[in-house]
Point group: C2
Chain length 313, copies 2
């Protein structure tokens, strides 16, 4: 029985009349194949992944497992449609905190059509992509059983200013997110989530080392998903912090050149995360940060306030 | 007595009715101040350089020494004009091989005017900037006393394809550049110019480490100049290979974000140079490389063939 994923933070959402991804109970994620060349591109990319000798094993783990394509009943009720079958990244998680970070100051390839370039360029300029080299496409931060998730609107997330992004990256690993108006994230979980030899920073640095060398792929409009389980961190257990690369509809051949666009954005994100680890208490909150709060809640007028739920529900 | 520099490979050239830089015999380089905010920007940048505590000493050496501004007789005969007074980077060189490499896939800042952005974007897309993260703005390679320099046209240099750039970066450190149609650069000086603990690669890596961390400046349309003296290399002496950053008319404040655009392009250049050192003999020359030759000589119909000259002439 396929159902709508409960922890989607970005991308098209399934619903009545809306085409979006689905999940089953065995841990598979069904992503509708885009009808144009984007769908074909993504299938080709995933198909080549496991056999591509240019991707070392320690990098392969950053990609979701691919189980081929399958015709399934589309979420919008339009009948059988081909879907990519992938690993459900939320499987095994109870209340995952998740960020979807689209990497690169440019989400379009030089080879793309003029129309597509202009459309993306506009979005890159209006979002933080151009200035920061990445944009937060969406996120959810677990607060508590009572309050559920803090989940700002997607549009608001994408347009965060530099100071706002810094704030969100801190809030993501803080314990004091119960009240949306907490202005000083305590970064209580920074060292266990971002830090350490297996933490997020360490994983990002592994990815960076690969991107400094690999000339096989250029990944445009691809995201890094950052996931961890805050309740485990609260209990002093390993919160399972990890990253995954997703969205490969705009992958191009590298043709002997590194993906300097992805790498630049990745280095920018790494610098932000490093700074949090270096100075977790150094959170400059001023008037502009108060304005953030407005931005972060302004998307639909309210902060999404999903009740806590568990994977077994 | 001011005169036209003999080793300029990019930028506006001084001449009859043409405004360009001048040099004197004491080793100073006079760059006409652009009348608009670009001139003011560049003065402000150079003025802040030596006192900026955010730039460590080992990085300061990559910038030309700045001696203030001065009114001097302009090269185009238009009378006294304000000039930036800088260190003449060709001073002490007899027959320097020089590359001017404009770094960044984007030569414009997000804050720039719409008109300027569109103009630059067009140039970035038409040149190798967008694909490689940098473009060779100009170069001269010393061949011999008889043949002088190999100096392809600036327009041709900027539009080199990936394979052509690889070829030029190899030819730059090769001894067999006597004949323009040599298709297999021998990379005879790769290890002494690019390699070693004080070579070009090592200097680029120092710069990279700084750019991974510094959030003070964003340098748009800035170039790395690569210089060495081939005759010294031929004699088995230290060829004095070094890099300098030049052109700061489009410097913006970093505002807490790394210069991911510059860093990405720099990493791309570093990968190309590393590959030459790893496999100096691995020069894939095929039909497209033969086409290069056409491109590289097509700018003015002929390859520039300046006679050798010395600094004391």
């Amino acid at each position: 029985m396929l159902k709508v994923p409960q922890h989607q933070v970005a991308g098209h959402e399934a619903g009545i009349g809306k085409l979006g991804p689905l999940v089953d109970e065995s841990g598979r994620f069904y992503k509708p194949l885009q009808g144009d060349e984007r769908g074909a591109n993504e299938v080709a990319f995933y198909s080549s992944l496991s056999t591509n000798s240019g991707i070392p094993e320690h990098i392969q783990r950053f990609f979701p497992t691919f189980y081929g394509t399958q015709l399934v009943e589309a979420s919008d009720g339009s009948g059988l449609l081909p879907h990519l079958v992938l690993e459900d990244l939320a499987l095994g998680h109870v209340n995952p905190s998740i960020m979807d970070i689209k990497i690169g100051s440019r989400t379009w390839a030089p080879e793309a059509s003029e129309k597509y370039i202009q459309k993306c360029l506009k979005k890159d300029r209006e979002s933080s992509s151009l200035s920061l080299g990445f944009r937060i496409s969406g996120l959810q931060i677990y607060r508590s059983k009572e309050l559920g998730f803090w989940k700002p609107g997607k549009k608001a997330a994408q347009k965060l200013s530099t100071e706002e992004v810094k704030l969100v990256l801190r809030r993501f690993v803080s314990s004091n997110t119960l009240n949306d108006l907490d202005l000083r994230p305590d970064c209580a979980f920074a060292s266990t989530v971002y830090g350490g030899s297996t933490g997020i920073l360490s994983q990002l640095l592994e990815l960076k080392a690969w991107f400094e060398d690999q000339t096989i792929f250029h990944l445009y409009s691809c995201s890094i998903l950052v996931i961890f389980e805050k309740e485990l961190a609260l209990k002093g257990k390993n919160p399972g912090a990890h990253i995954k690369l997703i969205d490969f509809a705009h992958v191009y051949e590298g043709q002997g050149v590194i993906d300097h666009n992805f790498l630049g954005g990745l280095c920018s994100l790494i610098k932000f995360i490093s700074d949090i680890l270096t100075a977790p208490s150094d959170c400059r909150i001023d008037i502009s940060a108060k304005a953030d709060q407005k931005n972060l809640t302004a998307d639909n007028g309210v902060v999404a306030d999903h009740k806590s739920h568990t994977a077994s529900e």
